[in-house]
Symmetry: C2
Subunit: 322 residues, 2 copies
């Protein structure tokens, strides 16, 4: 996948100014280019929401498996899911990148292009960043969001018994995609599994779902980044409730079953402990929140923070940095 | 300098949750701990200002020369100088860190403590971050600022002929400190040069100078991060003016002269191309801006973007990432 890039100059050859100019060409912004970025004023009562995520080569992505554009996409999704999980709307992104001097320019412009493509869907802007030499490729993205109105943000500690648990997006796809990549490599994954691989390399994220959920009765939200059970456990523990998942609502679909068959693994592992789907998970008093489906209920705190059909989950281990 | 830290566990031993808990202990914040940080609402008409900087071990800092606390300090100063350079007030910081699993916990808590100590001076808060394993230590800091009022921010393109050029902070000290560290190592730098070494390892930055300058007639501002001539050239080029420096106002002081004598180098190199002082540099119609001194004038655009006593500078090369 890297051959096409060998013709472009290296970062050392083109120099810092040249690299920055190339980034600004693929991700134009009127705000970018001063010491810091000044964002436009929101309506009165608007709060600013910020989050940051760091992606390290060969840990969070592999250039054999993902194009630079996909790495940019994924970095945006990771951060924008966190912004949405507060009930806020993403408005801006900063991109800090460390890369060896021998890195091809097209890798950097590809990441920037991927970021630009993805943030366009959210009407957000790449407003600034930093570029530095280093031994490895490390991408650090900061997202800025805007939280309007006087309602509280969607926090981890506001799930209440009686609410329904809702999800927007697939669950387990990213982890299945990763296992398929490990087994087959990007170029040889059977075509029937492309959607799973794509969920890993460039996960989907619908705009405005956090805002809509907050407007229709959601109180707690997070995204499935570390694993369904891990992330729901955080909500359950912080809110002192138990989350009871409906097994029928989360059971592996035909794609996951088929992939599990080919790989000889348990598809529930992907569903329960997979992570990196960045599916939005909320608790709400509202019904039929657009884009979401019900996957469970919030009940009074019992022995386990999260149960599936009343039983403790079979897989609980999630993604860990260390 | 690292012996005292050998007793603390490694990041792998304590695990991600333990590391995060330890960070939150040294840098407590009520805002930190959700998917994203929701900042408090500013007065109406307040704009949000954001900037990011990435520090790579052995490129931006060396653990032989700097304590973890000093690395935290410097990371804050780099970012807060950029916020101030817009005329804004820093209010929050995010800290993303990549470090090998064998890294000692005390390194991470030391950096966090340094960040916390420094942002306290600005009444700012460490509101979130990310932690991930990686081959090298990479620290990525994002600062958020608040820009009040309806006046425009202090941008690079608003210097005007007739203004005076003013500076807040020392010029050339950081580069001299770096050369002294290269020559002697941290533990053997002669005591008379401690102020220069400290300017490199934990550069000073006065709070509120950007706000004060904006309130008293400044229109353009930057900080001396890449080198005096490089950074003023950016203002001069973007504003289509020439900046005429007064040599008497920037000439090397007794400390720089003495260090240059010991190292057998030209102290003007530190002053003109040193960088990393994070001294605030502004152009203003105001007089006696508190904390600043006049170092030159803005005149109509001539042949050179920056002159010293009417002549082209002898040293122009600044810090480059590539």
């Amino acid at each position: 996948m890297t051959n096409e890039r060998l013709n472009t100059p290296t970062l050392a050859e083109i120099g810092e100014k040249g690299v920055i100019a190339a980034i600004q060409e693929v991700a134009p912004s009127m705000i970018n280019g001063d010491d810091a970025a000044v964002l436009t004023i929101g309506p009165p009562n608007t709060r600013t929401v910020v989050t940051t995520d760091m992606l390290v080569e060969n840990r969070h992505f592999k250039l054999d498996w993902s194009t630079p554009e996909e790495i940019g996409h994924k970095a945006v999704v990771q951060n924008f899911a966190d912004i949405q999980a507060m009930g806020a709307r993403p408005i801006a992104v900063l991109m800090a990148l460390s890369a060896p001097p021998s890195t091809r320019l097209s890798l950097v412009t590809g990441i920037a292009r991927g970021i630009y493509e993805r943030i366009q869907e959210f009407s957000a802007e790449l407003v600034g960043g930093d570029l530095t030499a280093g031994n490895s490729i490390v991408l650090s993205i900061t997202a800025v969001g805007s939280l309007g109105g006087s309602q509280p943000p969607l926090s981890l500690n506001r799930a209440r018994p009686g609410q329904s648990v809702i999800a927007c997006g697939c669950i387990g796809y990213s982890a299945a995609g990763l296992d398929l990549l490990k087994k087959f490599g990007r170029d040889h994954v059977p075509v029937e599994f492309l959607k799973l691989v794509r969920a890993h390399c460039t996960p989907p994220l619908m705009p405005d779902r956090g805002v809509v959920a907050r407007a229709t009765g959601a109180t707690a939200m997070t995204d499935n980044s570390d694993g369904l059970i891990t992330d729901l456990t955080t909500i359950a523990d912080r809110s002192a409730v138990t989350i009871e998942l409906n097994p029928a609502a989360i059971e592996p679909d035909h794609r996951l079953l088929r992939a599990a068959e080919v790989l000889g693994t348990d598809p529930w592992k992907w569903v329960l402990s997979g992570g990196e789907d960045h599916t939005l998970l909320a608790t709400t008093t509202g019904e039929n929140v657009s884009g979401f489906r019900e996957i469970g209920r919030v009940i009074r705190r019992g022995t386990d923070p999260v149960t599936i059909g009343g039983e403790a989950p079979t897989w609980t281990e999630g993604w860990k940095s260390y």
